[in-house]
């Protein structure tokens, strides 16, 4: 049913630390890998080894530069995937009931056998979180690795979304945002986690932790410079004599 639940029992989601992300795209690759072999139809590509490759991804990393007028520019890597919104506009526009938000954990999913591939949900999402599969012609989106997080057949430490498990910088955190005792709740509280496009009224579950302010942005005095200058002080032998003789001219 594409009407949204009044309340979900949990609000599972991600906190993404923009201060820590190094922009390595490992989460993009691991997401693609897991979701090509797991839930639903494979995440397809067209012309993957040709001149014009294109394909569906559920997670992509943009890189932005932010600048104050007279300050040095600051670079921020920005991973973006479905934010599992509380007021998900993609769900309510769906004509078939294929898109839904789960009452038990708040995950927004697509039932691919009901999807007619009309694309209206992708139009309704302000974040670009949904992409049409170019081969299967159904809408694909982040499942929060619903087939990992409850999966008893894999080791316990792997029962988190693939992107979180793989991030070498520890920039991605997974948990229940409704539980005030959870690590993720405390982390978001402490770091002042923010919503993307709050004016769109989507109430996203996923939060972004803003980059920490730079401690010191005043221009640095180069203390090592003089020490690294070319020195001929200890030169001996013929070339040492030549050096001293040429200095005297």
């Amino acid at each position: 049913m594409t009407t949204l639940p009044d309340k979900t029992e949990k609000s599972l989601g991600l906190a993404i630390d923009l201060d820590t992300c190094v922009g390595c795209h490992a989460c993009v690759v691991s997401c693609k890998e897991w979701n090509t072999g797991a839930y639903g139809a494979p995440l397809a590509d067209t012309d993957p080894y040709g001149a014009d490759p294109s394909g569906a991804f559920l997670n992509r990393v943009h890189t932005f530069e932010v600048k104050q007028p007279d300050q040095p520019a600051q670079v921020t890597h920005f991973p973006k995937s479905c934010l599992h919104c509380k007021d998900a506009p993609c769900v309510t526009v769906c004509p078939t009931g294929a898109s839904y938000k789960r009452v038990e954990d708040g995950i927004v999913l697509v039932n691919e056998s009901d999807c007619i591939g009309c694309g209206l949900c992708a139009w309704a999402c302000p974040y670009g979180a949904r992409e049409m599969d170019p081969v299967e012609k159904v809408m694909k989106k982040c499942t929060l690795c619903v087939d990992r997080i409850y999966n008893d057949n894999i080791p316990e430490e792997d029962r988190v979304p693939s992107c979180v498990r793989t991030c070498p910088a520890g920039a991605r955190h997974f948990g229940d945002f409704d539980d005030p005792t959870s690590d993720i709740f405390k982390l978001v509280e402490k770091r002042g986690g923010i919503d993307l496009m709050p004016e769109q009224g989507t109430r996203p579950v996923n939060k972004y932790l803003p980059p920490r302010p730079k401690a010191d942005t005043t221009p640095q005095v180069d203390v090592l410079g003089p020490l690294l200058d070319v020195s001929t002080q200890d030169a001996g032998g013929f070339f040492g004599w030549l050096d001293r003789a040429l200095d005297k001219i």
Partner: protein, 291 residues
């Protein structure tokens, strides 16, 4: 937004068909069954061709029946349900007139009301989208309804009424363009709110997430419409309103001239509808430094 021909044909033709049904439902032609048969066939054909065109852009048209289920929340689903109901009620009403010569005004009124609601639902599919600020305004449904009424009246042969409606339509269209041009800025969505980095300064895209195209860019970033926007607006306005109004007011409208006016109006409608999609900007483009 990418102006898909299937969607443009769907909204334009079904709008004309349902617009014609509104007038046939309220005031059926008095000359008898055959005339009604021709007009009804035209209305039903336009509506059905439009609705069928809409299924062309679906990834899985064979599952289209499922789209009738979510009328509680989805304008697209509502549109489907009401459109089919309209076709049924209007078909019964027109059939009674054509076959038995019996006019049931209540049935006709109901068909007209359903047809009007269908057009409103079509408009709301687009007007509901906060992500496309140009569409997300009350003028969008007003415009769709005026398009249906002006076109419907013209097809129904109610020339002087149609000319009045065309004048209103032209005014609403110009207003919608003017408001639409300001809508993106007025929505308050910027790259700074999209990334949450506004507190740190002015943001710009340094590196895109991928070198090639993707679904989002193909579907939601389209620049040709905006590049030629002014020219296309003038063309649309001339074909849609100025030429029909000039011809209608200067000459006495007989069959040949009516055909010219109808064709001009439809051509204008198609240009205006192409532009409706082609110049609309989706907020997701901000993440790509494109719009």
């Amino acid at each position: 937004m990418h102006p898909a021909p299937s969607i443009i044909l769907f909204t334009a033709l079904s709008g004309l068909g349902f617009g014609l049904m509104i007038f046939l439902g309220i005031d059926p032609p008095s000359k008898g069954g055959w005339v009604m048969a021709v007009f009804s066939a035209m209305a039903l054909t336009l509506a059905c061709v439009g609705l069928l065109a809409s299924t062309l852009h679906l990834g899985h048209p064979e599952r289209a029946i499922k789209a009738f289920s979510q009328w509680r929340s989805s304008w697209l689903s509502r549109e489907g349900v009401v459109a089919v109901a309209t076709l049924g009620v209007f078909g019964a009403y027109a059939g009674l007139i054509v076959v038995f010569g019996v006019t049931v005004p209540i049935l006709g009124g109901l068909a007209a009301a359903f047809a009007l609601v269908t057009v409103l639902c079509t408009a709301m599919i687009y007007a509901q989208l906060k992500t496309v600020p140009r569409w997300n305004q009350p003028l969008t449904p007003v415009l769709f309804v005026l398009f249906a009424l002006a076109g419907g009246a013209l097809l129904a042969g109610k020339v002087s009424l149609s000319l009045w409606l065309t004048a209103f339509l032209a005014a609403a269209q110009v207003l919608a363009w003017v408001q639409g041009d300001r809508a993106f800025a007025a929505s308050g969505t910027t790259l700074e709110t999209a990334t949450g980095l506004g507190a740190l300064g002015k943001a710009r895209l340094l590196e895109a997430p991928h070198t090639g195209k993707n679904y989002l860019l193909k579907e939601m970033v389209f620049v040709i419409g905006r590049k030629h926007s002014t020219k296309l607006r003038v063309i649309a306005l001339v074909l849609l309103a100025i030429l029909p109004l000039a011809l209608g007011l200067v000459f006495e409208v007989k069959h040949m001239l009516a055909a010219v006016i109808v064709l001009s109006h439809i051509a204008g409608l198609l240009v205006a509808r192409w532009l409706f999609f082609a110049e609309a900007e989706h907020v997701v483009g901000l993440y790509y430094g494109k719009r």
